[in-house]
């Protein structure tokens, strides 16, 4: 029982993040609306960030800003740097995806995936 409790207390962050990742993945692959897909992708990205940052945490540590006090433990700064870059790249991807969704709406008149597929099939049978 003790071993199970330490197992849960030591791994609950990974499991919560995996649940969030799977919810984001479900939104991306099962919904047909393009904007909903983009929101699901954002959810997936944010949960991956939480995974990396939780791996860098040291119990009893503090933010990695050196204060000069002796005997201070700091959390690992390397995942923070990675995730800063990843957040900015994520917003760039989201902005570009939203611009593409707007252009698709202007060309096809809809942003639902199955309707776009229907219009494409009709255009193909005509030509």
């Amino acid at each position: 029982m003790d071993k199970l409790l330490t197992q849960i207390a030591g791994h609950y962050n990974y499991w919560m993040v995996i649940i969030l990742m799977m919810i984001g993945l479900y939104i991306t692959i099962s919904r047909g609306n393009l904007i909903k897909k983009i929101v699901g992708l954002n959810l997936f990205q944010a949960s991956v960030f939480v995974l990396y940052i939780s791996m860098g945490k040291v119990t009893g540590g503090t933010a990695p800003i050196i204060t000069g006090l002796p005997g201070e433990t700091y959390s690992n700064p390397l995942p923070h740097v990675l995730i800063l870059t990843a957040i900015v790249v994520g917003i760039s991807t989201t902005a570009l995806a939203l611009a593409l969704a707007v252009r698709i709406r202007e060309s096809y008149g809809t942003i639902e995936e199955d309707e776009i597929q229907q219009i494409e099939d009709q255009m193909e049978t005509k030509s």
Binding site: A63, I65, L84, I87, V88, A95, L98, A99, V102, E106
Partner: protein
């Protein structure tokens, strides 16, 4: 817009503080949380707030699209140019050791200049993306939306 009185007054009161806070975050990134990206986003948010309350035309009167594109390119060139400058001083690309009197000072100068380039590029990029979205006319009217 004459009926959004509270929004206009509060936006006019808050905007200088938002821009000042953006400057604080930019220059104090060395000593606390902050740095180029956060400061650039806060700057852009100040401009976006102005555009949301007073209209996009008012914002493009202050900063034109061309100025934003020039700002973006300048920020990126500042960063890449710092690397070229250190190559011209005889070191490797983006090696800041010779920018000051001793290597530690050189690193501080290099980090400051590079973060400034990042801040300018991010602020102009975010504002330009927002203006591009806001200027696009929708092809449906409000009733069909």
């Amino acid at each position: 817009m004459h009926h959004h009185l509270i929004l206009r007054v509060i936006a006019k009161l808050l905007l200088p503080f938002i821009l000042l806070f953006g400057l604080y975050v930019q220059w104090h990134g060395d000593y606390g949380p902050g740095g180029g990206f956060q400061a650039g986003v806060i700057f852009a948010v100040g401009f976006i707030l102005y555009a949301l309350v007073f209209g996009t035309e008012a914002l493009t009167r202050i900063v034109s699209q061309k100025a934003l594109i020039a700002g973006m390119s300048f920020g990126l060139l500042l960063y890449a140019g710092t690397g070229v400058a250190s190559m011209l001083l005889g070191l490797g690309y983006l090696d800041y050791s010779k920018f000051g009197s001793d290597p530690v000072h050189g690193q501080e100068w290099g980090i400051l200049i590079v973060e400034l380039g990042v801040g300018i590029a991010v602020a102009c990029a975010m504002t330009a993306i927002f203006i591009a979205f806001a200027h696009r006319e929708a092809d449906h009217n409000d009733k069909d939306w």
